[in-house]
């Protein structure tokens, strides 16, 4: 990111579209944190792209005055890969829900982590399918009754944070939509991080998980110890399987080349002469060589 020319206020990133979210939805908190993070980073709206899939949470790009794309279910990161690899100069943010990111989009998440795609991915985790009215998500606790699991969810929940760490994300954090201050800082750090930043935000769904979810989450949340060292992968992994507590904060942070760096390196090797070949020059390769 080059030095910003202007400074922004959070409100500058608002569009005039009114969020469709239910009053009290956790996603409002995420949106506000994002506005603030973008403002403190002075992100130029025209050099920023926000992409999403489908879900309540995936409506977010419509509310941010950058280039935005609310695509199809599960494919936010597929599109983001294209945007970032084709245009490495842009700031790219992807957002979505737990179903979008961990169910139908799970493969793209895993491979984006592996590639260390320089994108910030914010997963709004409400442990439910909000938009489709309350079915089981991969993060729904086992045994919970939902619209699609009348007798209780028969599947163990996945821990998105653990998945991200073990598949190669280089910045992994857990946040809470009700904690605007820390969430803003976390998103800001995520955008600043060079490489794949994964931010799992617990974002309650008041409509399909009731008020209790917010209370339950709030009770479980706990911040990282002051002296926590996020560069240690093994200790990061330890914070993922806790059941009585949910630790928020930046659990893991590492360096290393991004897919963009590596593709750039290839371009450098390939363009040794610095000259783009003409079509005629390319065709020369098909002349019988003898």
């Amino acid at each position: 990111m080059s030095a910003p020319e202007v400074t922004y206020k959070p409100g500058d990133f608002k569009t005039d579209l009114k969020p469709v979210w239910c009053p009290g939805c956790g996603d409002f908190g995420v949106l506000n944190a994002l506005y603030r993070a973008m403002a403190s980073l002075s992100l130029e709206p025209w050099n920023t792209v926000i992409l999403s899939g489908i879900g309540c949470s995936s409506r977010l790009p419509g509310y941010v005055a950058t280039y935005g794309f609310n695509s199809v279910h599960g494919r936010a990161l597929a599109l983001a890969t294209g945007v970032k690899v084709a245009r490495p100069d842009l700031t790219v943010i992807a957002v979505g829900g737990d179903g979008d990111g961990m169910a139908i989009g799970g493969n793209h998440l895993m491979h984006s982590c592996r590639r260390n795609l320089d994108v910030t991915y914010i997963l709004m985790d409400n442990e439910i399918y909000g938009l489709t009215k309350g079915q089981t998500a991969p993060t729904t606790p086992t045994g919970d009754k939902t619209k699609s699991s009348y007798w209780g969810n028969p599947e163990p929940a996945v821990d998105p944070v653990e998945l991200a760490i073990s598949t190669g994300a280089t910045f992994v954090a857990r946040g809470f939509s009700g904690d605007l201050k820390n969430l803003t800082a976390m998103i800001q750090r995520g955008i600043e991080h060079r490489g794949f930043s994964f931010i799992n935000v617990m974002s309650p769904c008041v409509t399909w998980r009731g008020d209790s979810q917010y209370q339950l989450l709030k009770a479980k949340l706990q911040e990282l110890p002051e002296d926590y060292d996020p560069t240690n992968r093994a200790s990061a992994v330890k914070y993922t399987r806790e059941t009585d507590v949910l630790t928020t904060g930046v659990l893991y942070e590492a360096g290393g080349p991004t897919i963009g760096d590596r593709v750039e390196h290839i371009r450098m090797m390939a363009q040794e002469g610095g000259k783009v070949p003409t079509t005629r020059e390319i065709l020369e390769r098909f002349m019988p060589s003898m």
Binding site: R75, V83, V85, L90, Q271, F286
Partner: protein, 592 residues
């Protein structure tokens, strides 16, 4: 009698080097300015199994593989069994086979007639004696073939030198000895086969390339700078070529985790302002249809190069068929406009790809190019491709339009100015939901109706601007053939041959399938009274598609359709002509 057109098939297995032989003959032919078409085929074994290569070299124009080969080289008759029915020889063919192989062969099985010449050649012994290794068998054969049939001998020798230039000097020397031994052995065969020599005047070297390579070059020419793809036979060569060349052109390539990611990345790259493409085959295209609809709805340019193979399902992955047509035309839910182009030969693969980018960018619409395994993987000689194929760009909004930027402004031709990231003030938020002119989601029927109209309106100027259609034969033909894609080759050859005999048959081959070139079709239909639709699809996908737009005259429209797995032959087309034309004539008398 000397020939101006010669087809040679070579069959062997693993270590026999028949593929190299084919390559060398093709290269040598191209070097001397001949017309060449070369195909390969393999048995089910991944490696070391049966393989065959067939090369047609000619001084005259050629449009397809030959139906029958004039010369067959067989190192092992067991290997040949795999290609029974796929490789047939001319009745008077020359069949050269390994002397040591004592298998009894029924010539009729191959298509050989009583005039065929059967020659046992001690390939193995010749190789061992001359080069000291049986590995040189193919080089011996090249010497022999070049001498017997006047194949470009000097270029062949140079090709051998090139091939072994990086090996030890002894290796090269041994192979040259093998080559010479082949030549010498040929001389001992005397006049028997002398009348099958290729007659030609060497000319300027020509390009030798495959359809997939031509498409990849076309993409770079058109300005493609981002490619995302997932390997799949028979399209992978596009990925291979671009993985090397796109970075040279300043672009980038991602091999994605699957086809869903590939088309997603293409839409992302294109949204970001970079011309983007993917390449795939039937199974991959099936996986892309959901997002094809996204590109249509969000009006993002996208080029999908699809190389058809035998289906359904995994089907016949290495064989050609024209059965991705329906999913290209109709795949995806909702009313999702797209453009479908259909190259008919290797050179078309270049031009159709450039057209695809031009249309995609100019009209902000997904464009599918439907190639097939036949033209995708065969290598064919070409003159330097027409390099002035114009390249078009996306319409950006004016400063004034940016003041109240409506990404999906309703315009007379349906095209709204489009920005991309980096353009200050051009920000918009798009989606795959129905939306208004600003891109804001809605589920209102009236907006939906207007926007459907807008999206489909774009097809009209495309139809008016792109007249990529081929016609052969006289205007007053007694029979009109309607076909598409790689069927063009044998159809064209059959039509021109028939015309030369005074038979009035014509052919119509559209390279734009959708938007449907109704006007041109109807012109053709108006002039002619009897028709046949020819295609390689069991369920007659092309014929049924034509019916949706055309009034094909009942009782006067014939169909020749069959499954793929074997390329269309000139003889099949000729049989249809022969069977229908007399009837057509009778009918016409009745009508009059």
């Amino acid at each position: 009698m000397p020939r101006s057109d010669l087809s040679i098939a070579m069959v062997g297995s693993g270590g026999d080097g028949v593929v190299t032989m084919g390559d060398m003959i093709a290269q040598a032919g191209a070097r001397d300015g001949l017309n060449v078409i070369k195909v390969e085929a393999y048995g089910p074994q991944i490696r070391g199994g049966e393989s065959s290569t067939t090369v047609r070299v000619a001084a005259n124009d050629i449009y397809a593989q030959a139906d029958h080969v004039d010369i067959l080289v067989v190192f092992n008759w067991k290997d040949f069994a795999r290609f029974k029915g796929e490789i047939t020889v001319a009745p008077d063919a020359i069949i050269l086979s390994e002397a040591k192989d004592e298998t009894e062969v029924d010539g009729a099985d191959l298509g050989a007639g009583p005039n065929a010449t059967w020659i046992k050649v001690p390939f193995i012994d010749l190789a061992k004696e001359s080069a000291g290794t049986t590995l040189a068998k193919n080089i011996v054969t090249l010497g022999l073939l070049s001498e017997l049939f006047n194949l470009p001998q000097k270029p062949l020798k140079r090709a051998i030198e090139k091939k072994f230039s990086k090996k030890k000097a002894e290796v090269l020397e041994a192979n040259i000895k093998g080559f010479t031994a082949g030549i010498d052995f040929a001389k001992t065969l005397g006049e028997d086969v002398g009348d099958r020599r290729l007659e030609y005047t060497p000319g300027e070297p020509r390009l030798l390339m495959s359809g997939n390579e031509a498409a990849a070059v076309g993409a770079i020419h058109a300005g493609c700078r981002f490619f995302a793809g997932y390997p799949i036979t028979p399209s992978s060569e596009v990925l291979h070529f671009l993985s090397e060349w796109l970075p040279k052109a300043g672009g980038s390539v991602v091999q994605t985790e699957d086809e869903l990611a590939a088309i997603g990345a293409v839409i992302g790259g294109s949204f970001a302002g970079v011309k983007s493409m993917t390449a795939t085959s039937g199974p991959g295209l099936a996986l892309m249809t959901e997002m094809l609809g996204l590109a249509a709805m969000a009006e993002v340019p996208a080029v999908i190069f699809d190389v058809q193979r035998g289906g359904p399902s995994t089907g016949l992955p290495t064989k050609s068929e024209q059965s991705d047509l329906w999913q290209a035309l109709y795949g995806s839910h909702g009313d999702a406009p797209r453009v479908v182009l259909a190259p008919a030969d290797v050179e078309d693969c270049f031009h159709s790809t450039v057209d695809a980018f031009n249309i995609a960018e100019e009209y902000q619409i997904p464009v599918i190019v439907l190639s097939d395994q036949n033209i995708a993987q065969r290598r064919e000689t070409l003159s330097m491709l027409t390099l002035d194929h114009e390249v078009k760009e996306r319409l950006a909004p004016t400063a004034e339009q940016l003041e109240d930027y409506k990404r999906y402004e309703i315009t007379p031709n349906g095209v709204s100015p489009m920005t991309w990231p980096g353009i200050k003030g051009g920000q918009y938020q798009t989606n795959g939901l129905e939306h208004d002119e600003y891109g804001r989601p809605t589920s209102m029927h009236l907006v939906h109706e207007k926007m459907n109209e807008k999206r489909y309106r774009k097809l009209r100027p495309i139809r008016d601007d792109y007249h990529f259609i081929r016609q052969y034969g006289p205007d007053d033909a007694d029979l009109g053939i309607l076909c598409w894609g790689s069927s063009k080759g044998p159809v064209k050859e059959a039509v021109l041959k028939a015309n030369a005999r005074g038979v009035k048959v014509a052919a119509f081959v559209p390279q734009v399938l959708y938007p449907f070139p109704k006007h041109e079709f109807e012109e053709f239909l108006r002039r002619i009274k009897e028709f046949i639709v020819i295609e390689l699809s069991f369920s007659a996908q092309f014929y049924k598609y034509l019916r949706t737009f055309l009034e094909l005259p009942e009782g006067h429209t014939h169909i020749f359709k069959r499954s793929g797995g074997k390329n269309l032959t000139v003889a099949e087309v000729e049989e249809q002509i022969a069977a229908i034309l007399p009837r057509a004539a009778t009918k016409r008398e009745v009508l009059v």
